[in-house]
Symmetry: none
Subunit: 411 residues, 2 copies
């Protein structure tokens, strides 16, 4: 089965916004062996949208439309699809009740324009939206399955998992695409490629892609097979070689984020962490607390931007700061040890550095960051020099800090 | 003049890669008054590419193809366009010389497959590539301008600036596009629409788009005019009405983020802030410290995930927590007042809530968040109930917290 994706929204034709839902959908469709053959982006314009829908319905077995299901006048997907497929819209009471209930739970009356969302083309199934008011639509028409999904990613993803994946799984035949993602830390992209190119180069199946994201590298393998087992065994053959070549720089093979991996290790080892952050401004705490249940392994932390707070909240001696400067090995160490002492955590992390754009000097340039990790036995301090702008320096520093915790608790 | 963009490459139809060149091109085209009406992404496949090119040539005055000009066998754009427009390819000696020179400078002989890049469809102009070997192509055919650009962004951008912008500037007439973005907080999307629809509905120029991002709403206006001044005055006419309808829910008109606006007000009023965060885990501190120079207005904060740390680091009385529970109005207030006292900031912010997925009860469900803001005169505590998953609850809470600061310091 071949698919095409149509992302609808005038904002997607400006320089400011980009469709990202199609990446998620492509991943899910691939897992069922369905390849995406076209992606089209079109604005909230009746005529052009109708033209794109008509073309897609004629050439693809599966057409997924994203967006345009909201309550406002420029949300046209429902109407345009009904028109192109010549299926009149009818109000569905059950949807109306659900939307009214949703507003009632928020303690507000349903706005009149939400009524547009209760309309369903004749012969279509509607798909429940567990995270918003706009129901999706599933329409089978002349050998084409047309699916309308809401634009907000969390709504789209929940609806696709709950309502579309099971329906599509039965239809997609035996061919499967499986993929594997290795997340790598502590090596630059060119070094990752140098190590693994001799292994992946002989293969066209799996395909290999190397991707640099903020602070980590991802190696993606995609294999096609006559069955899941076939595809998996192709993945395993190349994957084993890649795992050997990259060793413990691989921190994740199942999609887990850096903070999830660190959290998992901390829980396994029954350790807790606390952080004292200067230049990262709370980013490390924020990342650790993204993990559901993080209260088990993360006690808390201090964001001490000013020198005074470093002393007052974490107990860094004022003389130490005066002597070495706030951005120094000694202060990083005092932050790590101080936060560990004040919170009673097993591990204390201290970060101090210059994120920029201002504040750099020839001796202490923008990008200079000291990170210290302290436990009951010792404190390790590392000095880094990160490239890039404020956001990049902060992100790299947070990755380096999490990596120090990972290496400490894993061993 | 209307344009469409076709990005070519099988990797752009995987879950891992996205066309980003079209954002750059859209910005440049808009500056000349040229609107992008469609974007299509298609793989390196002769038949499908030909279909897409044929369709585009028939409906758009300007068609820009990205990619597919490399020397390898899966680079098909040159051949497919020549075929669709029925213009035979001819070798151009001048291109061959340039490519040979380029390789000579690298000290290597030209590989055989680079010869593909010397081929130009009859009647086409070729565009010099100052940063790579693949020349671009400019073809005028039956009222359609078709431009072929190389995929690597630095090659594409240099070629577009040098060869396409000047040619297009002469063609696009005086028409210009200007845009304005209002960022709105504290109103749901449907309410924003209810307030402004009567104003924007009569206008097709400017076009209005309403966009819901995490916790805030954006209203985009784009106006076409015979000159920049014309377009600006059209923007101002509708914009003034929208500003009136949304009033002080608009926090930004020049693209600034919520945290930048809050920072600006704090600096203007010479106030400082500090935060004590529980469920947001450092997100508010992290957002405030994204702003360059935030050390002027942000002293720091505490992430107190455990009850013990609320007491130890912020001085929330243990009895208060025992009596009211950690997620309560009283504890939010004590956090705000405590962090203000401990840091000496002008404003203290306290946040406590249940981000989920676990930890909810019938009385205190997931999404319940208390936010308190304290200054030298008083402490305000607000209770919220945010929908959605952990990430959304945290994001909404951070927006609500920043909004409380904005309203306090603005007045």
């Amino acid at each position: 089965m071949d698919a095409e994706i149509i992302a609808v929204g005038s904002e997607l034709l400006t320089p400011f916004h980009q469709d990202t839902n199609s990446l998620y959908l492509t991943g899910k469709l691939n897992s069922l062996g369905i390849e995406v053959r076209y992606k089209t982006i079109v604005g909230d314009h009746r005529g052009r949208l109708a033209e794109v829908v008509r073309l897609a319905a004629g050439r693809s077995e599966l057409v997924i439309l994203i967006g345009g299901l909201g309550p406002t006048e420029d949300d046209l997907n429902r109407e345009v699809v009904a028109e192109v497929l010549d299926r009149p819209l009818r109000e569905v009471d059950e949807i109306r009740l659900k939307i009214e209930e949703r507003w009632a739970r928020l303690g507000r009356p349903m706005p009149e324009n939400n009524l547009r969302q209760t309309m369903v083309p004749e012969g279509a199934e509607w798909l429940e939206n567990s995270r918003g008011t706009a129901p999706g639509l599933w329409i089978e028409h002349d050998g084409c399955i047309m699916v309308l999904l809401p634009g907000p990613p969390h709504e789209l993803e929940a609806m696709f998992e709950a309502s579309c994946l099971p329906r599509l799984a039965g239809r997609s035949g035996g061919r499967r695409i499986r993929s594997r993602v290795y997340k790598v830390v502590g090596l630059p992209e060119s070094e990752v490629d140098r190590r693994i190119a001799p292994h992946y180069r002989p293969y066209t199946n799996p395909e290999t892609t190397i991707l640099s994201t903020m602070g980590t590298i991802e190696v993606h393998l995609r294999a096609h097979g006559g069955s899941e087992a076939d595809a998996e065994s192709l993945l395993a053959e190349l994957g084993d070689k890649i795992e050997l070549a990259l060793g413990d720089h691989i921190f994740s093979t199942r999609g887990e984020s850096m903070e999830e991996v660190v959290g998992m290790y901390l829980v396994m080892k029954q350790k807790t962490a606390a952080v004292a952050e200067s230049c990262t401004g709370g980013l490390v705490a924020e990342r650790l607390t993204r993990v559901p249940g993080s209260s088990i392994f993360f006690l808390g932390g201090v964001v001490c931007y000013s020198n005074e707070l470093k002393t007052r909240l974490v107990g860094v001696p004022a003389e130490l700061i005066a002597e070495h400067g706030a951005v120094s090995k000694a202060v990083a160490q005092a932050l790590a040890e101080g936060i560990r002492r004040r919170t009673g955590s097993s591990l204390g992390l201290g970060i101090t550095g210059i994120a920029g754009p201002g504040g750099g000097t020839p001796e202490k340039p923008v990008g200079l960051v000291f990170i210290a990790l302290s436990d009951e036995r010792s404190t390790e301090v590392r000095q880094f020099r990160f490239p890039g702008d404020r956001e990049r320096v902060r992100t790299w520093a947070s990755v380096a800090a999490l990596e120090m915790i990972r290496r400490r608790v894993r061993s």
